[in-house]
Amino acid sequence: QVSVINTVDTSHEDMIHDAQMDYYGTRLATCSSDRTVKIFDVRNGGQILVADLRGHEGPVWQVAWAHPMFGNVLASCSYDRKVIIWKEENGTWDKMYEYTGHESSVNSVCWGPYEFGLILACGSSDGAISLLTFTGDQQWDIKKIPNAHTIGCNAVSWAPAVVPGSLIDQPTGQKPNYVKRFVSGGCDNLVKLWKEEEGQWKEDQKLEAHSDWVRDVGWAPSIGLPTSTIASCSQDGRVFIWTCDDPAGNTWSAKLLHKFNDVVWHVSWSITGNILAVSGGDNKVTLWKESMDGQWACISDVSKGQGAVSTITDTQQNEQ
């Protein structure tokens, strides 16, 4: 049964823009227009403020936890054009790195798969996407894709490390193929896929379906299946699910999940990649699941507007 296990009062002084838990689900990071990032210990239903990170000079849009193999590392991005990477050392949180290479608001940050080390993608309203790679010794290598999206980039999301096409029908002993890829969405109404080839980032695909700014993109986690899946949402209220079965990764087809009445701000995949959480300007959160015949259906309304919480009806199917 779906149940609320914790309700965290963040005491932010202004509106919250993002909330994310770490790998194990023990800590919660939130960020707000009050320019702060807060970290709470939420184990066992508690809510202990662990850190109140101040360093941004504008509203903080998004936070992202790195994989725990790199320690406790959190990235945040803000209207103040900065990306700050925070790290916990001996129980105290400090700035590990501050990136100021963008000329406008940085709207999205996302850590790459741990297989590639500590690598962060940042999308900004100056239209560029930056890739920051930790090279050890407090050094960060910076690669920038200028003019990735005309007018501005609103969202970035990494692909799983392993290329799905490299998994099946392969002779034994072959290693799976790892390629750095991510997806981005921007004010040019486009969803773009990027791929690293010989150390250079190249535009791999351009997906067109939205009729207004793309607000968020989410590459579904892989469980080893041959299909790649991406969700994108837009100001036009539409959410599209993009899939690619082609081992070369060139043919993507779009399926409209739903057309909402207001902007859709955020999409998020469950760990098994079969449930999508959608949230937007209508102040509602809905969960969507693909049925066995490939149709997407809304399985629950997590919050029916205005912050009121209703329980989800248990729609779990009995497997087999």
């Binding site: 609320v4 309700t7 002084e13 007018i151 099946i168 034994t172 955020h266």
Partner: protein
Amino acid sequence: MDFNFNSHIKSITSAGFYHLKTLQISTVYCQNQTWRDLLIHAFVSSRLDYCIGLNCAIQINFPCLINRRTGHVFCLFQKPNTAIEYVAAHLSKIHGLDWHPDNEFIFATSSQDNSVRFWDYRQPRKYLNILSCQVPVWKARYTPFSNGLVTVMVPQLRRENSLLLWSTLELNNPVHAFVGHDDVVLEFQWRPQKEGAKDHQLVTWSRDQTLRIWRVDPQLQRVKNYADDPMSSGSKLDSAAVGAGLPQTLQQEFSLVNLQIRNVNVEMDAVNCSCVVTAHFGAHQVHLVVKFPAQYPNNAPPTFQFVPPTNIPNSMKSKIYKTLTDTSLQKVKRNQNCLEPCIRQLVSCLESDMEDGTPPFVPPALPVFPRVTNTYGSYQDANIPFPRTSGARFCGTGCLVYFTRPITMHRSVPATEPTPRSLSALSAYHSSVLTPMKMRSESQRLYSSSPTRSDKETVSISSFYYKERKSRRFKTKREASEFSNRPIKLAGKVIIQDISCLLPVHKALGESYILNVDDIQETCQKNAAAALAVGRRDVVWALASAATSQDLSPDSDPDSETPWARHPFGRHLLETLLAHYSQMSDVQTLAMLCSVFRSQSVPVDSFSLYGGHHSTRSLTSGSYSSNSDSVPTNIYNPGRDQEHLNPWGEPSPDEYRFSSQSFTDPREREREQHDMNKKLLDPSNTLQFDEFKKCYGEILYRWDLREKRADVLKFASCPPEPHRGIEFGVYCCHCRSQARGTQCAVCKRLTFQCAVCHVAVRGSSNFCLSCGHGGHTSHMLAWFRSQDECPAGCGCYCLLQSTY
């Protein structure tokens, strides 16, 4: 029609017609009734005195000639040659003129001198008002609705592709920016409004080859009027690119090319579709002929050719040639013009190569485009997305974290209006009279902005929403006032919900599933019971149990009979099962099935183990945990020592098979085929099965079930990347040669002897970093429980030496 165009000295270059419905015009000049219905006015422009445009006023109905060179406006009444008014206008070229839609005497002029001036025709000597724009203004047009003005900058500057919307009542800051064009806007016009329509539409076309129609809804129209209606809160517009179909001829491109680069000259010949670029840099001269194909610029790049007297070295020629071809290809692929970018590339190439010896090229200083200090939510934030105030994210394995706008924060626009697109929607709150506090009536008891920011910056995303106190009854007045003084919470609560029941994976199953390689049957039965316990009727475990039973185990002799895997209930059934669980994204069942069937298909004594290289100090030593309360992984299970005949570091039979591809014996090949056939899992998909295990392993890790994870990962055929940290090598105790793993490559004997039992160590071992002695982990543990000194008798205090 009685027009007298005699005053034109040179040929008339353009004429336009206005439809009757759009303009109310007196019929003075329209003699013919039919003409009056169809056309009411013609406006004419001529090259006389460099006139670039003619505009008409609604009721006075006279064309206006703009003298571009001197910055003066002549007003010429239509009654032929009767009166010429003279308006002293600008310091610099005038680019455009527009008449006020409602007031017949007022018009606005836009000019190169960075300003738009407003005039009353009756007072030609003094302007009414001035709008300073910091950039030369190409066009300024009144909006058809109240007191608005739209400006666009001079296209050649290529700095700003947005149109700005101003209120003529408040000229300090634009009200809105129409952002969307990728290149400069060349022309814009208001579309005649349909009767009854509330929205106005602005049509723009730009050099990016799109025509856009912008919807300006009543809300935005009111923005201009906020003195009367402070409720106007946001701006919203829809733009629709109508397609990049504008035919763009070479002439157009040529006429738009703007190159103010010293030493570079471009002679354009539109008739022959070619142009000659000449550049002089110090002693170097470049003459380049560019020829444009007929289809240009639709995916047809021009050709480049150096002609005499070009005197740059050949290496540079080829470099420049390559750069130019690349640049042009890049552009024409998108059906864009490429001449200007190509010339700029050429110049930068020459510049970088000329740096030594020649005076550095100084680009002419472009007019500075001073940016007003950026304030949060102002019109300059038109390309920053409107912030999210709600969101939901799946975190960990079974949690959904979400937050929504607090219940006390309402949207100040009706719910039917969509949320604005960009942060500049907040610009309406920037005007000092427009704090949300004053927007509300007293009864709603509004709290202003957050107390910490109120001194510095009051505009925040929360300004967009108005806050309301929950109505509550108070016993005393004091209590009530205290309550109203307390700040309203602008941040909602973050809710963490457990949604694990919606997922196909279950932590309870993760805990209770077992993997016992010694007894697959038992494993299947126990797992079936575990699945039943959480309410899953997983017949799959019964099937697995049957398929892995001893009776069906394949014969090693290829001739005996068809292996069970070839039976319809063999590999085919298993594949169907895997496909089913794939569709359900049930990685847990997938990984477990793959592990069970893999262990079934591989002989027990030659297991390929997780971790390809085994150092003497094995980090992940193989503990075959047989049930849920498994032995900790780093303690070696000595019971298995004797059973193992093959050393653990041996590659699996798979690797043997595929590394040596030189089968000569047909019998050998048949056996090979048989080995493939008798496997229930399709060997060609091994990588995918490994990925299932890896993903499930990751989930188990998040559940903090690390031993279970190790159990599953043991069945991965493809060992993970060898770790790149410190690895301990061994000197073989027999021949003293350096060895990796347990067997010496030189003498083929086991490399490492236990200091306690003097038996070679194959499995888990521990040794002292100081003296190098060590042995079986279990023996070492036992020894050092009571001793401090090295069991080899070397006198080393291993425990002390090894602590660091």
